[in-house]
Amino acid sequence: MLSKINLLFLLLYSHKHRNIGIFLILTLLVTLLSSVLFIASSIKQELLQTLDSQADFTVERYEAGKLLNTPNTWVDEFIKFNGVTNVQGRVYGIHYYEPKETYFMIVGIDLYEKQVLSTLEDLMDGLDLEKFLSKKSMIIGRGVKEFFDEYQYKDYYIFRPPDRSREKIYIYDTLPEESSLIGNDMILMEISNARKILGMGENQFSDIILEVKNEEEMQKVEEKLILSHFNIRIIKKSDIEKFYVNLFNYKGGIFLSLFLISLFAFSIILYQRYSIVSKMDAKEIALLRMMGWRIKEIIYLKVVENFLLISVAYMMGVIFAYLYVFIFDAPLLKDIFLGFKNLENHVSFHFYPDIEILSLLYLVFVIPFLISILIPLYKISVTEIQEVIG
């Protein structure tokens, strides 16, 4: 009537109150850690993808420690350098809306540049260029849209450039949600409109970006750039990478804190589990031994029993974390990771399974848990049955 498997489930059931308690706490801990892990992994991947699209060199103009606009003559100058495959001037800047203490990032796009146009067409499905250019238009990030909606700017918004004139720009469309990590507070508009709103001259750029296809030419191009002007500052792709890594490490600190707190909670469970291998367990083991079960068979039974418990808790934790992060967009935790500094972010996370870390997390839970069970159980198992049952 009873196979070993039946017995296993009966034993699990017979300790249901204790097992449910442990199961719930473990599931909660795994959910928390896996959620953090999923969010961190998603942000990291997004940032790395963004990094991929960055230029090899960004050139800025500095004078007396102040960042100034770069003249467009530099573009013509840099394209002549051997190894440079593309040079592009960029126009962007911050637009500050004082009453709400809110910043927008205005980015000017030169739609006559083939590459810019193709990137924009990739980003905005069904972009009608004619319509976009027929009047002064802009494409806005999701955070900006929310702000505009709140103040009833449904069709257009009137900017106030530094010369205090009024610049009415129509809302063409919203950036897709996938771009929210970077583009949440961004406004894209035709480059001449952006220059006007930001108070830049017609022949000026915010900075200039360069691409160098051949990696071996990088060093030489950098040297030429340094020598070309005394007031030049060069930001390499690797510098941007360092910035992202630092940013991510800072977020990683939060992850580490949560991880340590969870481990602390887990160690309390282990201690509890270690100390409450109860009289009931002892009696159970003694009964089984009395009926002819060998010590190693009992240990095996108990390992499988607890292994099942922690494995199911782990799986449930990962599933809950998946639902929490990717279906419900991680309320609360998202705010910790992305912050609220400017506009509320509308990032939706994407699943990038990090099998190595998930496996590590599994082992971090399973091995100490099983050890905390095994040591007291082994002690009971090798104690004379007579001593246990009295």
């Binding site: 009537m1 009873l2 196979s3 070993k4 017995l7 009966l10 059931y13 017979s14 009696k283 159970e284 003694a286 009964l287 089984l288 031994r289 009395m290 009926m291 002819g292 079960w293 060998r294 010590i295 068979e297 004379e384 049955i385 007579q386 001593e387 049952i389 009295g390």
Partner: protein, 218 residues
């Protein structure tokens, strides 16, 4: 046949729980070990059951010294040759009666159908077949005792050890237990009963009586 030679059990280096025990239990006989509480009779029974190790001496069961067995052989001996009826109701409280009885068959390797039949047969024999699906907590003391007996017998062992089997039973249930013992004896099994209950005095089914006092057979 169980033969005990020069058996000693010492606790804390100098306390003799059992001292120089020499006994012979013949196959098919019902033997009684009686004495006062703390005399060492339960310790003796636990050593015969291989659930406790003697400090010195031998216990030969059909010629094999079980005192020298390691866990593997001792477990095998308990599984195949022994049925243990305990004084306390040592049962899995959250299991049903049927599940409690069949725990003893989990290692036997028999099919579930065969196991079911064996459980049903033994339950019928002991009059608890109507309680098979009941939880242990819902049973009376006498029913719990019969459940323990059923578990001890379901594997058809040749040696039955009873440790104070009537200690937690009222007189009517104790008499019923003696009837069951008679039945077991008729099947040719060796039975060793450890008790201080006077109900066993003058019982004609008892073949041998051993009085134990302060760890020594008198």
């Amino acid at each position: 046949m169980i033969e005990i030679k020069e058996l000693c059990k010492i606790y804390d280096d100098d306390f003799y729980s059992l001292k120089d025990i020499n006994l012979l239990f013949k196959t098919g006989e019902l033997s009684l070990i009686y004495g006062e509480s703390g005399s060492g009779k339960s310790t003796l029974l636990s050593i015969i059951a291989a659930i406790s190790k003697p400090t010195s001496g031998e216990i030969r069961v059909d010629g094999e010294n079980i005192a020298a067995y390691n866990d593997y052989f001792a477990s095998s001996y308990r599984e195949k040759q022994l049925g243990f009826i305990t004084q306390e109701f040592h049962l899995f409280e959250s299991f049903s009666v049927a599940q409690n009885i069949s725990v003893a068959l989990t290692l036997s390797g028999i099919s579930l159908q065969e196991s079911k039949e064996k459980v049903l047969n033994i339950a019928k024999k002991l009059g608890i077949e109507h309680k098979l699906q009941s939880k242990i907590s819902s049973l009376s003391g006498g029913e719990k005792q019969r459940c323990i007996i059923a578990r001890a017998l379901v594997n058809e062992p040749q040696i039955i050890l009873c440790d104070e089997p009537t200690a937690n039973l009222d007189r009517s249930n104790a008499l019923k237990f003696i009837e069951i013992l008679k039945e077991i004896k008729r099947e040719g099994k060796s039975i060793i009963v450890v008790t201080h209950d006077t109900i066993f005095d003058n019982l004609d089914i008892v073949d041998a009586r051993f009085k134990i006092k302060d760890g020594v057979i008198e």
